[in-house]
């Protein structure tokens, strides 16, 4: 009896020790991400990571962008610790880092942090510390149909003005053939139409707020931005444009219904992919336009980045994963499997110096030029109290940006005039900024 009991106790102790040892060796990383092509590819390559790091298991949680943001915010605010690695953008990183929600990254010598494109690295750093590593980054640029341009006798310069774009859109429009001169975002949302319109406003010399945080929608620059946007879209845009976002315009462009589309640089790899695009071999690229006399090309910069919340209990393993997923070696791995075209763009200088990449990606030069030109520290030619390019990096912007986006989208749908939309934007934003304590 005693022997049995002893044996049992011994076995229990052994199991317990084994359990502890296993717990130390086996870390499970929960990674929250969005369903974009590059992220899906990363999920597919997870086995490579776990093979090189046998003690780490990886679980993926893929969610729609807004749900992801909601879930991650709730989790961080309540210190829930559900996630070890988060996929977030350049909007969240500075705000969350200042709140103390993110762990500063120490990715080691071999990572070559100096190879990260400076504009992207700056956008993800607070007080000189990197809080998120860029997985892929984008600016905005003009994508246009070279065949239609040629047929219409139009040349779009590499650095066009808005007047050039309007002129080209007019000449390439043929509504009887469902061929629209220009496609731009119209769907309301701070990250949808306001991403585009804010960048356009920057390039018109406008700014969201003056140095006392007073909204500037009553300025001449904003009026010019919105009137030009509306008239271009009404005259040369597709029908129902007020519900078009990135995906809808991508679909229109790929089907050959848009002559010009101005949007995120990451779209370039989609529209030139013969597997999904009917116009793959006739797409030209140009920089984001500016208003004549304004030295500003929108300053659009976004980077889907990987960060670690302070609530994670596997921070060391999370750093290892991030270092792997955003490394040069990862790019080489993708290139080896699927070709250089499929490598996540916009994060490392070395990628754009790579002749193989340059040869396979016709959009490489324009992408890197656009990213390098983006200044998120001072988005407008006028003085501004905020950072951020196509957004204002303050927590209130999600709400304010979406509310203003709804006014502008209503104007595009013909429900109100540009003046009324701007007046409503001005009064709403003033009220919200006063309530939030920015305007004393």
């Amino acid at each position: 009896m005693t022997t049995t009991l002893r044996a049992l106790l011994g076995a229990t102790a052994l199991c317990a020790t084994a359990g502890i040892a296993a717990a130390q060796d086996n870390v499970t990383l929960t990674i929250a991400t969005v369903n974009n092509g590059d992220m899906i590819r990363m999920q597919g390559l997870t086995d490579e990571f776990t093979a090189a790091n046998p003690g780490i298991q990886v679980e993926w949680v893929t969610l729609e962008e807004n749900i992801l943001r909601e879930r991650v915010t709730t989790d961080i605010a309540t210190q829930g610790g559900q996630y070890d690695v988060l996929t977030i953008g350049t909007y969240e990183v500075p705000i969350w880092a200042k709140q103390g929600w993110l762990v500063p990254l120490e990715l080691g010598e071999a990572y070559d942090v100096d190879d990260l494109i400076p504009a992207v690295r700056d956008a993800l750093s607070v007080d000189g510390k990197l809080y998120a590593a860029p997985f892929y980054a984008e600016s905005a640029m003009v994508m246009y149909r070279t065949d239609l341009a040629e047929a219409a006798g139009v040349t779009i310069p590499d650095a066009p003005t808005w007047a050039d774009i309007r002129d080209a859109a007019a000449k390439m429009t043929d509504k009887s053939k469902e061929q629209y001169g220009i496609c731009l975002r119209g769907k309301p949302g701070w990250g949808e139409n306001m991403g585009f319109i804010t960048a356009m406003a920057n390039s018109y010399g406008a700014r969201w707020f003056d140095t006392d945080w007073k909204p500037q929608f009553d300025s001449e620059e904003w009026k010019a931005t919105l009137t030009d946007y509306l008239s271009m879209m009404n005259e040369y845009g597709p029908p129902g444009a007020s519900s078009n976002g990135f995906n809808e315009n991508l679909s229109l462009f790929q089907q050959g219904k848009c002559a010009i589309w101005i949007d995120a640089t990451v779209a370039a790899s989609f529209v030139t992919d013969p597997k999904t695009s009917t116009v793959a071999d006739s797409v030209g690229f140009a920089q984001f336009p500016n208003r004549e006399g304004v030295d500003n090309r929108g300053n659009w910069l976004w980077a889907w980045s990987l960060a670690i919340p302070t609530s994670s209990d596997a921070q060391e393993a999370a750093q290892t994963f991030i270092a792997w997923a955003t490394s040069k070696e990862y790019s080489e791995l993708v290139a080896e499997r699927e070709g250089w075209r499929a490598v996540p763009p916009g994060t490392r200088t070395s990628l754009y110096e790579n002749p193989e990449y340059q040869a396979e990606a016709p959009f490489a030069a324009m992408t890197i030029d656009s990213i390098n030109a983006a200044n998120t520290q001072k988005a407008s030619v006028q003085d501004v109290p905020y950072t951020g390019g196509q957004f204002v990096a303050i927590p209130e912007f999600q709400g304010i940006g979406t509310a203003v986006g709804q006014q502008f989208s209503a104007a595009l749908a013909g429900q109100m005039s540009a003046e009324d939309a701007l007046a409503a934007a001005q009064s709403n934003t003033t009220r919200e900024m006063t309530r939030a304590g920015y305007i004393k």
Partner: protein
């Protein structure tokens, strides 16, 4: 002449009914059609004839294993409905056969909990789940879904039980039946059709719940609602894959609904003529 008119009218009504039914069913039908297209066909515009490729289903399955969320959905939907029935049958019995003057108020109050937007209590419930270790567990979500659907279950059962004459229960009591016997052997068998429709409707409601099941799960307990959500993309067109994921998620419940439509219709229209 009269007969002809009524026949014409009947044909008219039948055509109208088919039209309305098709209108309602069309989004589901088009989802199924899109799931059988290639990604390029899916974005090419409206077309009712797909190329019948199963490519999207294969990609969806290889990208995200279907069986774990499927199992979770079954456990959550069936589990929460059974739990709800266990709680609701005695409650509805009490309200139907021994009403007090506050019974109506209690019923209304129970229903009023459904009127609050769920997001209003997100943070408290999130914190409770965190502190009790229920986050991302099937048991936590089963209990929560049970609580969410409980008002509807009680209401439905209450209306069925009201249909059963109280005298039968009295007679059982006269024959010496205990309370347990009365509910188990007299009331329940008579109310089986009602209980069955309640069960079916609640399985469907729990299966389709897409707020809490996404907010309170990460990987272990994530059901099919989270599975669909993972295929929506902000940058990239994956309509065929999204449709395939949706078809995989709704197929089981669609089949269940098809076979039990008689009970469902009865459940939904019960008491409507009174």
């Amino acid at each position: 002449m009269a007969r002809a008119t009524s026949r014409n009218a009947r044909i008219g009504w039948t055509v109208a009914a088919w039209f309305v039914a098709l209108l309602i069913f069309f989004p589901i039908l088009y989802t199924i059609i899109t799931s059988l297209k290639t990604e390029q066909e899916a974005i090419a515009g409206f077309d009712l004839i797909p190329s019948f490729t199963l490519e999207s289903f294969q990609t969806v399955q290889s990208q995200n294993n279907y069986f774990r969320p499927f199992t979770n959905s079954v456990i959550l939907a069936v589990g929460s409905t059974l739990l709800a029935l266990i709680v609701a049958i005695p409650a509805a019995w009490a309200m139907a056969f021994s009403p007090t003057k506050r019974t109506k108020d209690i019923l209304m109050w129970m229903l009023s909990t459904k009127m609050m937007p769920a997001v209003a209590v997100l943070v408290p419930i999130y914190l409770i789940f965190l502190w009790t270790g229920l986050m991302d567990t099937r048991i936590g979500l089963t209990i929560l879904l049970m609580l969410i659907n409980l008002p509807i279950v009680v209401w439905m059962l209450y209306t069925y039980f009201r249909e059963i004459p109280g005298e039968i229960l009295e007679a059982a009591r006269m024959d010496g039946a205990t309370l347990r016997d009365e509910i188990l052997y007299v009331l329940t068998p008579m109310a089986i059709p009602g209980i069955a429709s309640t069960l079916l409707l609640n399985i469907i409601l729990a299966w389709n719940e897409a707020f809490w099941t996404i907010q309170l799960t990460t990987t272990n307990a994530a059901p099919l609602s989270a599975f669909i959500a993972s295929f929506s993309s902000p940058q990239g067109l994956f309509w065929a894959k999204l449709s395939a994921a949706s078809v995989m998620a709704i197929a089981p419940i669609l089949v269940l609904g098809w076979f039990s439509q008689k009970q469902l219709v009865r459940g939904l229209t019960f008491g409507a003529v009174k």
